[in-house]
Structures are given as structure tokens and as C-alpha cells.
């Protein structure tokens, strides 16, 4: 596209556009080339789009020079200071009253395991465990978390030893892209306790008789996990992973990593096919 740029075309920049191009900070070499392209794009009438990209680039360049910038917002409106326990550690945060727990975890505490999927309580990717209960961190204001104990996906493993639910998700291939997985696993971990406590669901046949240690059928697991959406459609494997942890019955692993020899053989095969 840059090659097709006709330099004889003259398009006037507005005062704002010219000022923004003038005032760009020093960028890396890569940024320089990109800036040149974007400058050309701006003169070609893609002005608003290109200038928006330039402004973003400026903002990111500023972040690179000072990592502190991430943690020091210019101004917090209606600030609220809350102390809570995150994965066992006491944390104190000063947040804009609008900040959700999800944004607080990701942007303030660098705990980016909890994912922002829909940000509207429809997908479950942001699921965390607060005081033993799974909840949606995207619909929880950080300001409401004073004194609470929050467990995220980062808090499940014990050092290098994976939580059994994490290990089961890997063994049962319970994901493809992995974006929903932290939420799925937090949800599944809390579900194990709900079953132990004898909690019921919409598909429970008899809600009047109570019993601890409810044995969950696959249908029960599906109903109780319905708040976690997986767009890759790994549902059968997610149910299998949860059922393995829940039932304690070890399932056979149906896949293995390639051994080095298998990898070599596969590469040779590919080369052969490529020359045909």
C-alpha cells in the first residue's frame, strides 16, 4: 500500500493533525517506520483512524519508558481505598469507584489470569472465588471488596504443583485457545465444594431431600457449569476433567506429547509431501 502512495497528492492537515504529528515523542526504529506510514495514511484522508493509532502509540511509548506509569494514574475520581486478601496476601488498593475487581486484579495487581471476555456477566471468563464462593469479577466493584478474601487462577497451584483441577484440564484436553480456562477452572474448583455441601441445581430431581456430598452426573456438571462459556466448544473435555476430579476415578489419558523421534519422523514426512 505504501508503494502506491502518490507523493504528488497534496492534502492539507488540520491544525490539530499537524500539531500531533509535530509533537510525536522519539520512538524506536520500528516505530519510526510505522510513524512514517501512518503520517502518509493521515494525509491520504484516513486522518481520524491514523491519528487515533498514533495517539495510542504515543500512550504505549510513554508506558515503556516508565513502568511506574501503569500504577500511577494521573487522577482517580471518587477514590476508594480497600484492603483485601488476594491469594493469601494482604493488599491495599486505591481505586476509582467505577473500577471493577477484574480491572483491579489485571491493571493494578498484574494478575492477568482472570480474563475479560464480555465484561457484562454473560461469559464467566472473569470468574474468581471470593470467600469460598465463585463470582463474576467483572460485575463486582473493587470498592465493595473490603475485608474479603479473593482467590484467582494464580492462587490455585501450590508452588510448582498444579491444583488437581488444573492438572485434570490438561490431562483431559479441556481447552483449545485457553481464554475461558482460568474462569472454567475457578468455577469448577468452587463447584467441588458446592457438591460437598449438598447444594442443589435446577436439574436436581428432588430438592426436598437433603444430603451432603452430592454425586454429580454429567448433566448436573453441565447445568452447574452453564455460566462458563467456551467458544472453542471444549465442553465434553471440560466435563470429563471435572468428572475425573469429582469422582476420583482416574481416567485414561488419550493423548501424549510427541517424543523427539516422533517429531523427527513427522518432519521428514512433511518434507517428502512438500516436494511431491
Amino acid at each position: 500500500m505504501a508503494e502506491e502512495f502518490d507523493e504528488s497528492v497534496e492534502i492539507e492537515l488540520t491544525a490539530d493533525e499537524a500539531a500531533l504529528l509535530e509533537n510525536l515523542p522519539e520512538l524506536s526504529e520500528l516505530g519510526e517506520a510505522r510513524r512514517k506510514f501512518l503520517g502518509q495514511a493521515a494525509t491520504l484522508g484516513l486522518g481520524a483512524f491514523a491519528l487515533n493509532l498514533l495517539a495510542q502509540e504515543q500512550a504505549f511509548a510513554a508506558l515503556e519508558t516508565s513502568s511506574e506509569a501503569v500504577f500511577a494514574p494521573v487522577q482517580i475520581e471518587n477514590s476508594v481505598t480497600v484492603a483485601m486478601k488476594i491469594n493469601g496476601a494482604e493488599k491495599s488498593l486505591t481505586v476509582d469507584s467505577r473500577m471493577t475487581l477484574l480491572d483491579g486484579l489485571r491493571e493494578k495487581l498484574e494478575l492477568t489470569g482472570s480474563k475479560k471476555g464480555c465484561d457484562h456477566g454473560q461469559c464467566g471468563a472473569c470468574t474468581v472465588i471470593i470467600d469460598g464462593r465463585r463470582v463474576l469479577s467483572c460485575l463486582t466493584l473493587a470498592a465493595t471488596c473490603e475485608g474479603k478474601s479473593v482467590t484467582t487462577i494464580e492462587g490455585l497451584a501450590n508452588g510448582d504443583a498444579l491444583h488437581p483441577m488444573q492438572a485434570a484440564f490438561i490431562k483431559n484436553d479441556g481447552f483449545q485457545c485457553g481464554y475461558c480456562t482460568p474462569g472454567q477452572i475457578c468455577s469448577a474448583v468452587a463447584l467441588m465444594n458446592e457438591a460437598k455441601n449438598g447444594e442443589i441445581s435446577y436439574v436436581t430431581a428432588n430438592v426436598r431431600t437433603s444430603a451432603k456430598n452430592v454425586k454429580l452426573s454429567d448433566d448436573e456438571i453441565r447445568e452447574r457449569m452453564s455460566g462458563n462459556i467456551c467458544r472453542c466448544g471444549a465442553y465434553p473435555n471440560i466435563v470429563a476433567a471435572i468428572q475425573e476430579v469429582h469422582s476420583g476415578k482416574e481416567a485414561a489419558q488419550t493423548w501424549n506429547f510427541y517424543t523427539p523421534n516422533e517429531t523427527l519422523a513427522e518432519n521428514k514426512e512433511d518434507e517428502k509431501n512438500a516436494t511431491v
Partner: protein, 330 residues
């Protein structure tokens, strides 16, 4: 989201006074609906008063029935032994709604105050008399598959989304509220939510600043024969196309009392009085169930895209009554 002042209340009286004194202040409990609406710029409070720490979480026997604290979580209510044993219809209805994560956050009082999920209400670029009175109704001549078949007006055809409330209206619940001067009042559940009429912006008959403190359930004999049926586009985690709460009390082989309410059909949980009247004194047969369903559904006025709800309602009432008769949730 627009900026707002946040405060946490430790006393119901103070919370009510704070919100009463500011027309643009709101209570915050579970937050599952209001935060979503604030992100969409539908709700624009200038102040939120967090009431979730108030001591209104008890579920206890009261006056022969049960009192549900307004701030008890939906999960705790659905799983409470007294609710499961004496009001299994309510347990089922709560568990038919939302997801476990949301039920863990949502409170009983907040569940009642959910706003419609009408897509024209959510889209601030669209006209909506509920969101912005006087702008018109996008759904009346628009995409109205999910909308009302009973009690709608030219101003609004939205439906009320709560499952819990459908069971509560069937169970003759009473809502206890506290007002600005500390005075309390009781609102029968059937009078709590409103039909849209000329003022669809008003979902309920609560005054600004009034706080729900409890929901009371009278004693009844429906526990052995009740069922909450929910029909939706996917198996779980979706709002109802239609839902039916059904409860029966038998006297020998005759129906002594019947309670039927529907969700997903009107601007409020719809008590099916015509169907109930038809059943009293009759035997619990499929023919009688069908007659009762038809008595109710003949009053339906479907829109362009939701005519299917009339037949679905007919069959749903019959199925829910059959399930209730067979022990349903019990």
C-alpha cells in the same frame, strides 16, 4: 461508566436517608444488573450506597411461614433447608435463573428489582419509553419475539425477567419495605410490580429511596405438589421464552387450591387467575389442565414475532401442572 460517589452503609436507616435525599442515588446490593446497566449507560446514578453489609440476611420462620432477608443471597435462599422443605417451588425458580456465579452474588431484594432485558431498552441509540419516556417503543413494531403477550401497552411491550418472582407471586408473598422516615409498609407481591400503562419507566410501586428489607411467605400446603417449568432457547443460562410456576393442594382426588403464575409473558410476573379459578373443585386430569390453560391463554394478545408463546403457554401450563401432580420438585 459515568463517575459516581461510592459509600458503604452499616445502618439501614442511614442508607434509606442517603438515597431518599438524592433523586439520582441508588442502592447497590449484588450489583449483577445495575453494574451491567451502568456500563451500557442505561443507568446513570451519581451515587451508589452499598447495602450488602446490612444485617438483613436472615432466613427464618415467621408467622407460621417464612421470612427471607432482602440481602440473603439467591444461592443461600434456594439451598436453605426451610425453603427446600416447605417452598421447593421457590428453590427451583431461583435455580432456573442466571448462573451459579450470579446467584452467589445476587440478593433476594435485588432479584425483584431486575430490569427488563428488552434489547431496545439496553441500546441507548434506540427509542425506549422505559429508558427515556416519550421517545417511543422500538419493540412494538420491531423485533419482538421475546416480548409480552399479556398486559402490554402501546408505550411498552417489554417483559420482566425474574424467575424467582414468578414463584413468589404464585406463593402469595409479601414484600416488606422501609421508607425515609423509618416507617415500614407491606406490599402484596401481586401489587409490587406494575403493568406498563402510560408509565413504563416505573417498574414497581416502590418510592424512590424505599429499601426492601424482607420477603414474607405465608404458610401453605403446596410443598408436595409444585413445579417450576422454564422454556428457553438453550438448556441453561438463558432468559425464559415462557415459564410456569404451578402448585396444587388436593382434597382427595379434587383440587382444593391451585396456584399458577407465568414468566416471560408480561411486564410483571403474571398470575394466571383464570386458569386457577377453572381448576378449583375439579379432578387433576389432563383434560381439566388443558381447559384451564386455554381459559388463561385466550386472553393473550401476541405481537408480530411472538405468536408461538400462546401455544407454548398452553402446553407449558399443562406440563407444569402434570409435573406438580407427579410430585414435581419433591
Amino acid at each position: 461508566m459515568r463517575p459516581f460517589k461510592f459509600s458503604s452503609a452499616n445502618d439501614a436507616r442511614n442508607a434509606v436517608q442517603t438515597v431518599s435525599a438524592n433523586q439520582t442515588a441508588k442502592f447497590l446490593a449484588g450489583g449483577t444488573n445495575i453494574l451491567d446497566l451502568m456500563k451500557e449507560d442505561v443507568e446513570r446514578p451519581t451515587a451508589l450506597v452499598d447495602v450488602s453489609r446490612l444485617n438483613l440476611t436472615q432466613i427464618k420462620s415467621a408467622n407460621g411461614g417464612l421470612s427471607l432477608g432482602a440481602l440473603a443471597k439467591n444461592t443461600d435462599t434456594a439451598n436453605h433447608p426451610l425453603v427446600r422443605q416447605n417452598y421447593p417451588l421457590l428453590s427451583q425458580a431461583i435455580l432456573a435463573g442466571a448462573s451459579q456465579q450470579i446467584r452467589n452474588m445476587a440478593t433476594n431484594g435485588g432479584n425483584l428489582l431486575q430490569r427488563t432485558r428488552c434489547s431496545y431498552f439496553y441500546d441507548v441509540a434506540m427509542p425506549c419509553n422505559k429508558r427515556e419516556p416519550g421517545t417511543g417503543c422500538g419493540a412494538l413494531e420491531g423485533i419482538n419475539r421475546m416480548h409480552a403477550i399479556f398486559g402490554w401497552s402501546e408505550k411498552c411491550v417489554a417483559v420482566y425477567p425474574s424467575d424467582m418472582s414468578v414463584a413468589l407471586v404464585a406463593l402469595d408473598a409479601v414484600v416488606k419495605v422501609q421508607g425515609a422516615n423509618g416507617q415500614e409498609r407491606s406490599i402484596p407481591f401481586a401489587d409490587f410490580h406494575r403493568l406498563p400503562g402510560d408509565n413504563p419507566e416505573k417498574d414497581t410501586n416502590l418510592n424512590h429511596g424505599e429499601l426492601i428489607t424482607a420477603i414474607e411467605l405465608p404458610k401453605n400446603n403446596f410443598a408436595g405438589k409444585s413445579y417450576y417449568l422454564k422454556v428457553r432457547d438453550r438448556a441453561s443460562y438463558a432468559f425464559a421464552l415462557i415459564s410456569v410456576a404451578a402448585a396444587l393442594e388436593m382434597d382427595g382426588n379434587k383440587i382444593k387450591q391451585a396456584r399458577i403464575a407465568m414468566g416471560g409473558v408480561a411486564h410483571k410476573p403474571w398470575r394466571a387467575m383464570e386458569a386457577e379459578k377453572m381448576l378449583v373443585g375439579k379432578e387433576a386430569t389432563e383434560a381439566n389442565f388443558k381447559q384451564a390453560a386455554e381459559a388463561e391463554m385466550k386472553g393473550a394478545k401476541p405481537l408480530e414475532h411472538n405468536k408461538f408463546k400462546v401455544e407454548l403457554g398452553n402446553r407449558g401450563i399443562v406440563r407444569a401442572l402434570q409435573m406438580a401432580m407427579n410430585g414435581g420438585a419433591a
